[in-house]
Amino acid sequence: MRKIPKRIATTIMNSLKGGVVPRIGLGYITVGREQEINALLKDIEIIKDGGATFRFIVGRYGSGKSFLLQTIRSYAMDLGFVVVDADLSPERRLTGSAGQGLATYKELIQNMSIKTRSEGGALPVIFQKWLLAVENKIMEEKNISRNDLEFSRYVEAKIYEMVYKLEGVISGFDFAKALLLYCEATYSTNEEIKSKVMKWFRGEYQTKTESKNELGINAIINDSNWYDYIKIYSLFFREAGYSGLLVMIDELVNIYKVPNSITRQYNYEKILTLYNDTLQGKANHLGIIMSGTPQAIEDTRRGVFSYEALRSRLEDSRFANDEIRDLLAPIIRLKPLTSEETYVLVEKIAFIHSDLYEYELKVSEEDMMYFIKVEYERIGASKNLTVREVIRDFIELLNILYQHPEKSFKNILEKEDFEYNNPEEAEDILKEYIGFEI
């Protein structure tokens, strides 16, 4: 196995120990999933070439959905994409009467990432870079310097060129206006206007009046139009030299959980719009990936499939089954990792751990097999137990072993006070009610 930079190894260990998917270094710990990753990388190619794609990733709790999304995310950034992602929640939906759609938009913009800004907050950087690129292009094309009197005129002309391109699409006029304001503010070093324009782009203006008074733009990004702006971003990013925009929305189960059938329908209607746009070529350079549990997607009473127009479009091909998978279909189904795959993962982690803390790995193949066996018996016992908890247990074991070299792996595992990680620990449950199930 190749050597891993310490920074990445530390991130991987800390993230996995905390039960979250690391945002970097995923390649070192990926097991299986070749087919799925390849299918999604094909999509990335299509987007780069100007197309649009839409995929659902469906898998049970702990089947590695988030892991797969993170993997694709870092691939896409490496390939020059802008990536935005958001987890839905009771407050963040695709649309809602109390701004729940806009909340998702805000989250997406906040998490906007590019290769050099992989932790989010990339929008200002993208604007700066774009402006710089425009300037460079002019200097190159016209062979003039920044100090040239004609320079600013050329820049302006170039910006307008861009603006004209955007004005043709829905809401493009307002976006272009905001973009112009941004440029003007940059050249006149008016930081106040600049931060207000950024506020506008982030969807934080509450009323049109407010926006009009402060910026002269008679429109705001709101619950009903935020997706139009996503499409404009994808155009703009392309013009600004990126490969395209990848949108990832996780935890669709939050739509399923909405206790109001009409609200659910509105949200599924929004998904249908997104889906149709990508298929009918109304969007370009845009990829959308949504993910959720089988129930959230396939339940015909309140899941995505309760919306007839989506169900008929998304349902499996009659020819596909467990053996023959159709990876070109809009839904990609993930199977949980097998115990063999988990073994490979555990092995990789053991290696990274010993490499990181610079010690000789004492855990034997047999130890790891034994550990997997014990954990899989637990998984059988509880539906909610996933690979996440298994990995956390394993790292905990490695940590103890590292600090107490005199002990053996089996020793620790068989000691009664070893506390296995369990889901649900965040909730407030009195002792007498623990384990209550209906």
Partner: protein, 723 residues
């Protein structure tokens, strides 16, 4: 003392007292100032209507609010009625004119803008009903945390009403849910007009707060009460039945209400309508002004408010026909007289109604009026006695002579409210594991007697009925049927909206009534008397048999009415003694004598068992509703059959068939007094459970309903003590 207390109040309140020329603070006000400002306990303020207890609570609380400003809302005032809130709102606004404390009303009729203003700038006092508070917690979780995290006081008005109502259970549950959401347990201040059972009331008020309770003393302010009981036979003086032109009963009511501002209380909405209808006709004939209004649950809110506003006008001589809806303490100006048709259903209700009258220093006047048709047919002897009439005397005696009021019995198994609160909590949190849900719900104090297995049965049925559902991580969310329930504004109220049962004799529809009487009950409808034979709860149909004789007594109130044993014992006592009560009119006294005579001849008031025919016995144990039910179930294994004898809602006794002699039966009764009777061995009839009120009963497993029924309607100990 007075001066010291006065000086403890904020300057603007002192000024208000001075400006309004209050001569002195009343005892309860002085004691409340000390209880609220010098302790950190809950406070229960109990004194009669118009004794200034609202001020007693607000003066020191406002003082505290001015002296120690808090972030967010400082005081939550909870009232069972919107009208009461509006009333208090105007009184408070007056008091707070000079200072910077906002009062916000929050209920269905308050405009969106006013509510938004509070959300933007939460402060001061919020007045709310339990239902609006429920909606708030369900739908505005984050606002709830923001507004109430520093809440200092919760004032609960009409505590006696809440304690006796399912709305009270709901209220306690909501308050505990808010306390957990905000990690803040505010002090509670309870206001009540009629309380006898201080210990029980304190227990209710403090539940879930861990703060204890002080009860400031009231002064000894005596009130003069004038009472009169009048009685009419509608078919004696006049051979024509139901004459349109002249009905002495309604003429009498007309005469005693003429030019007086008064309320005519009846137990049933129908009776209110009939009475007011007659009075209007009489007034029209006599060319006196049409001053008649009605106020009951079927009247639209705006009409009721109009009535309240009209009554408040000082000089208006308005006569209002009302049911229980006017019992609570809305300020309706100074009434000159209360008229009661039939008997109130409890001593508590009587005291409430009496309290509506004679606000400042004047005597309270209440006239009871009875009207019945003289039974001429040959019927069972006990039908010749008007027990409702006797009950009114019993109630007067118990309160006036013995100062007795029904004790409060808290419900041990309020499954319906648990179901309601579970749905509401699920909507607040969105998703929760079964274990966390159980841990949350079963530790709320009104649900503390409910065991985990019962909760499990409830949840399982809720899953089956699609009220909730389990998602694939094992957590629970609102189900498809559940969401149509919680998204309807009617969900916030735990009491039933009006349900109508249609009454059928064979296949012929007789009419409709608003509540299912127990099987075997006789009631009047469309000029005849009927006996309930069978009830179809799903289709809301009551099948009846026709009975001989006429009864003017109609069943009243909602659901099964639980009459206390003490009232039945008192009725027995009245039948046995010779006292000529001073508040009885000549005709009423005459009717009492008739009743005593029947009782004497039949020996029903002295002999526990009376032989009716071969193998058929009547038992008159003089037990309250839940004790009589206990006796019926206890007797069940020993006899061939046993049925209730009810007169309207009054439990009189049992009809027993047994192939043995009277002494044998008597011995069984003696045995039952000492026997170790286990309620769980009773085979509770399904139909008995359906009689119980409960908006959500259809979603509750029958076994749990039976358990609830046993707790609320079967009292073995009281039966054994009083048999």
């Amino acid at each position: 003392m007075m001066n010291k207390s006065y000086l403890m109040l904020a300057p603007f309140i002192q000024e208000y007292i001075y400006k309004n020329k209050w001569e002195k603070l009343r005892d309860i006000q002085i004691n409340a100032i000390h209880a609220i400002l010098e302790t950190d306990k809950n406070v229960l303020l109990s004194s009669q209507t118009a004794s200034g207890k609202t001020e007693a609570a607000f003066l020191p609380i406002l003082t505290d609010l001015i002296n120690n400003k808090v972030q967010g809302v400082g005081v939550l005032y909870i009232s069972p009625l919107k009208a009461l809130i509006n009333d208090q709102f105007h009184r408070l606004s007056d008091l707070l004119k000079e200072v910077d404390i906002t009062v916000t009303r929050w209920h269905g009729d308050v405009s969106y803008n006013k509510k938004m203003k509070l959300l933007k700038d939460p402060e001061g006092i919020v007045q709310i009903t339990p239902e609006s508070l429920e909606a708030f917690v369900m739908k505005r979780r984050t606002d709830c945390i923001r507004l109430f995290s520093n809440l200092k006081y919760i004032i609960i008005d009409e505590v006696h009403y809440f304690m006796n109502s399912v709305r009270g259970i709901q209220l306690l549950s909501i308050l505990e849910r808010i306390a957990r959401l905000t990690s803040n347990v505010p002090r509670r201040v309870g206001l009540s007009a009629t309380l006898s059972d201080y210990k029980g009331s304190c227990e209710w008020l403090v539940s879930g707060t861990n703060k204890g309770c002080v009860v400031p003393k009231t002064g000894d302010e005596r009130k003069v009460v004038r009472l009169l009981v009048e009685h009419f036979y509608s078919n004696v003086e006049n051979e024509k039945k139901e004459t349109e032109e002249f009905n002495p009963y309604f003429e009498y009511i007309y005469d005693i209400s003429l030019n007086k501002k008064c309320i005519i209380f009846s137990n049933a909405k129908k009776d209110v309508e009939i009475t007011i209808g007659y009075l209007k006709k009489i007034a029209e004939n006599k060319k006196t002004p049409d001053n008649f209004l009605v106020h009951h649950g079927n009247i639209s809110a705006s009409l009721r408010e109009y009535t309240e506003a009209k009554m408040k006008e000082n000089e208006s001589k308005i006569i209002t026909g009302a049911t229980v809806t006017l019992e609570l303490g809305i300020d309706i100006g100074e009434l000159e007289r209360i008229i009661q048709t039939g008997s109130p259903l409890s001593v508590t209700s009587f005291v409430q109604r009496l309290g509506r009258c004679g606000r400042t220093g004047q005597p309270s006047e209440m006239v009871f009026v009875f009207n019945e048709e003289k039974i001429k047919e040959d019927v069972e002897f006990y039908r010749l006695i008007n027990f409702e009439f006797l009950m009114s005397i019993a109630i007067i005696e118990l309160y006036i002579k013995e100062k007795w009021i029904e004790p409060i019995k808290l419900k041990k198994y309020p499954f319906g409210i648990l179901l309601h609160q579970t749905l509401s909590h699920l909507l607040t949190v969105g998703e929760i594991s079964s274990a966390a849900l159980a841990s949350f719900m079963l530790t709320i104090s009104p649900f503390k007697n409910i065991v985990i297995d019962d909760f499990k049965a409830l949840l399982n049925k809720m899953v089956n009925d699609k009220l909730i559902e389990k998602i694939d991580n094992g957590n629970l969310i609102i189900g498809l049927i559940g969401e149509s329930l919680v998204n309807n504004y009617e969900f916030y109220a735990v009491f039933d909206a009006d349900i109508v049962y249609s009454v059928k004799y064979n296949s012929q529809e007789i009419g409709s009534i608003s509540e299912p009487y127990p099987i075997g009950t006789a009631f009047a409808l469309a000029g005849n008397t009927w006996e309930v034979r069978e009830i179809n709860h799903r289709q809301r149909i009551i099948y009846v048999n026709k009975l001989k004789g006429l009864s003017n007594i109609s069943w009243a109130g909602k659901g099964t009415i639980n009459i206390h044993t003490k009232i039945l014992k008192k009725i027995n006592d009245i039948l046995n003694n010779e006292v000529e009560y001073s508040y009885l009119s000549v005709k009423a006294l005459e009717r009492l004598r008739e009743c005593r005579k029947v009782a004497q001849i039949s020996k029903m008031s002295t002999n526990r068992i009376i032989k009716m025919s071969a193998n058929t016995y009547a038992i008159f144990p003089w037990l309250g509703t839940s004790s009589l039910i206990a006796l019926k179930y206890s007797l069940f294994p020993y006899v061939d059959s046993v049925e209730y004898i009810y007169q309207a809602y009054l439990p009189l006794g049992l009809i027993v068939k047994i192939d043995k002699d009277l002494f044998y039966l008597d011995n069984i009764l003696n045995y039952l007094i000492k026997a170790n009777i286990d309620v769980s061995t009773f085979k509770i009839l399904d139909s008995d459970c359906y009689v119980m009120n409960g908006k959500f009963n259809e979603y509750i497993p029958l076994e749990l309903l039976k358990k609830q029924y046993c707790d609320e309607f079967i009292d073995i100990i009281d039966m054994q003590n009083n048999l």
